[in-house]
Symmetry: C2
């Protein structure tokens, strides 16, 4: 087992009605608030009103930046940072899913500096401070509510990258499962695929960590047992709560302790599909996971089979891959690229961007030749 | 699922050689250090020397309090607090197992006040501040390294009670599995029984929390798979590390999120045996667990059976209880009180103290009549 430090600075408030405590928490950091959100769905489902009510209760001065895209772009980060900087905000309140909270993390370290947020991704700059960030999560999927990671894309450089530091954690995250009631059936399913993918990135990471393996199985099994039930009962509080909690646990570091690292090869490939065809993040992962496993099957067949034994009760690597495909299909997530985005005519374009981004995992690295082989398995 | 706040302020440093960073962490809090430890085993195994070396490297002024007993007593807490108070210490460094760290937690809130540490247990006083506490753990068992709980006994009132508040967390805990190499075979086994018991207190607590159940199974299975191996190979780093990490996870709140509460009936009974006969904590639990399950068998047979299915692959409640007994025997933990402490002639005495302490769980409460029935199952 590898050495590790177990610590997470985020205070997570989970459950029905937790937003009632939002104003008090915001007030701890100040009254000048940069409110960041997405396309406006929070105005339809009442979450915006609840947030505003909480901010009014503490007489906060609110500066709004909205329009963060589902696949968030660096231009929004820079524009929101400019708004926050100009108005000398005390904190950021992000209300939304992964794209909004990820963007807000980079906004929080961009406000104190005089350069674009992308400089953190490119390695040109390192953050020295951050504006406190408080979040209200509206989508169970990415785990961003309790980790430092932020994925943003840059169309100009054809990159979609992850970044995180000790400065990019939420101070507080508010998770009311009722706030996910209005998430559509397909995005609910993509969230489930995403949390399963996060668990798998830990499982296929480097280093032996047997308790971590068991925690991964626990989380995937929880998602599997409740995922289909939820898709048939989208306003069931308890099922929403179970999936929301599982998504947090899948990427709040719990599954990583004792490992050298996670892999993240599947994610780095998935990001390319989102970048090129605006595929929803979770949908990109349910396509890449089977292909990635098929490609690695010979090299790590026992490892894949052990996963299948503990999640699906099957025996072999082939059966495991088949079971994952069947499960993703059962929750109506795509398992082939042709299902949702594009046909084989796009192969050359995808391969070019895969090569450019040097996609691959920390544990299972991939060459350009490997890219081509994995790509073949997308259709 | 119940509402919860997920947050743990302890920073846990886990792995080989982590004590190399101890001096730097201590220095963050000051140079006047109250060093608390037990009967002196840390002087034989070199851990004392390592700690002193780290303290010297930062020119710390050290005040030593040693002699904390395996079943810690309030008199030591008060005497150590007096030493710390008199010398205006900046922080406490606790080096030892559960008894030392638990005592240090109460010392940390007793130093700033003018009354005995027991006043926190009796409810007479509430802590308002605490002296920062840094710990080096030398025994994998109680989970005290990453939770707020502290169990101390009071012979005068014939009580052994637990206490905890937001002020009684370690700021930092240092866990080097090598620091447990010299723990004897029997105490290693008692630590395994303890961590299993903690997992069960969560499992038998109030409220449905399905992911928590799975996390409990993960932790117990990890202990079970590695426990026997470790007892035959006491200086195996990886096995020591696995048990040490499992013990932390069994009681750092991870298994409690989403539940109304844990039960803690088994622990409250076990404490009586330690109080009266100085039975090692883990050994008291391996005696109480089977008796407790037998007593509750009719009422919660499905729950007990579900546990057995997921931990031992058995089907019924009876088989589950039998499997736990067999497992504890396999690691040479006692399963009957006559195995280690006392015969049936002590029944009246034990019953009196059980009644006096009103032992029972938060979920499964126990009457005086229940006490007598459970007691009958100890032999």
């Amino acid at each position: 087992m590898e050495n590790f430090i177990m610590y997470n600075p985020t205070k997570l408030h989970f459950g029905r009605g937790v937003m009632d405590g939002l104003g008090k928490v915001v007030a701890e950091y100040g009254k000048r608030v940069l409110l960041v959100y997405g396309g406006g769905s929070i105005k339809k489902n009442g979450i915006y009103d609840k947030a505003i009510q909480q901010l009014k209760s503490i007489n906060a001065k609110v500066f709004e930046y909205h329009g963060i895209k589902p696949n968030p772009i660096i231009e929004d980060v820079d524009a929101a940072a400019e708004l926050g900087r100009k108005n000398k905000v005390d904190l950021i309140l992000a209300v939304g899913g992964g794209s909004v909270i990820d963007s807000a993390k980079i906004i929080s370290i961009t406000i104190p500096v005089n350069h674009t947020g992308w400089d953190f991704y490119s390695g040109k700059a390192k953050p020295k401070s951050s504006i406190p960030l408080v979040s209200v999560l509206t989508l169970a999927a990415t785990g961003t509510e309790m980790n430092p990671f932020a994925v943003v894309q840059n169309k100009a450089t054809q990159q979609k990258l992850g970044y995180g530091s000790d400065l990019t954690y939420n101070r507080h995250s508010f998770l009311d499962p009722e706030n996910t009631f209005s998430v559509s059936r397909d995005y609910t399913a993509y969230g489930i695929a995403d949390l399963i993918a996060h668990s798998l990135e830990a499982y296929f990471g480097a280093g032996e960590a047997t308790l971590s393996d068991k925690l991964v199985f626990a989380i995937i099994n929880e998602a599997k047992e409740n995922g289909n039930l939820l898709l048939n009962d989208l306003v069931n509080y308890d099922l929403r709560a179970k999936i929301m909690y599982a998504a947090t646990m899948a990427l709040n570091q719990t599954t990583m302790y004792g490992r050298v690292s996670g892999d993240w090869g599947v994610h780095s490939i998935g990001h390319i599909l989102s970048l090129l065809y605006d595929v929803a993040h979770g949908a990109s992962l349910s396509i890449v996971i089977p292909a990635w496993m098929k490609f690695h099957k010979e090299k790590i067949s026992a490892r894949i089979a052990f996963l299948g034994q503990n999640v699906f009760g099957v025996k072999t690597a082939d059966e495991t891959i088949h079971a994952f495909e069947a499960y993703f299909k059962s929750i109506e997530c795509p398992i082939r690229l042709s299902d949702i985005a594009t046909g084989k005519e796009s192969k050359a374009e995808i391969l070019k961007v895969m090569n450019l981004n040097k996609v691959g995992g920390a544990n299972h690295k991939l060459t350009n030749e490997d890219h081509a082989k994995i790509l073949d398995l997308f259709w």
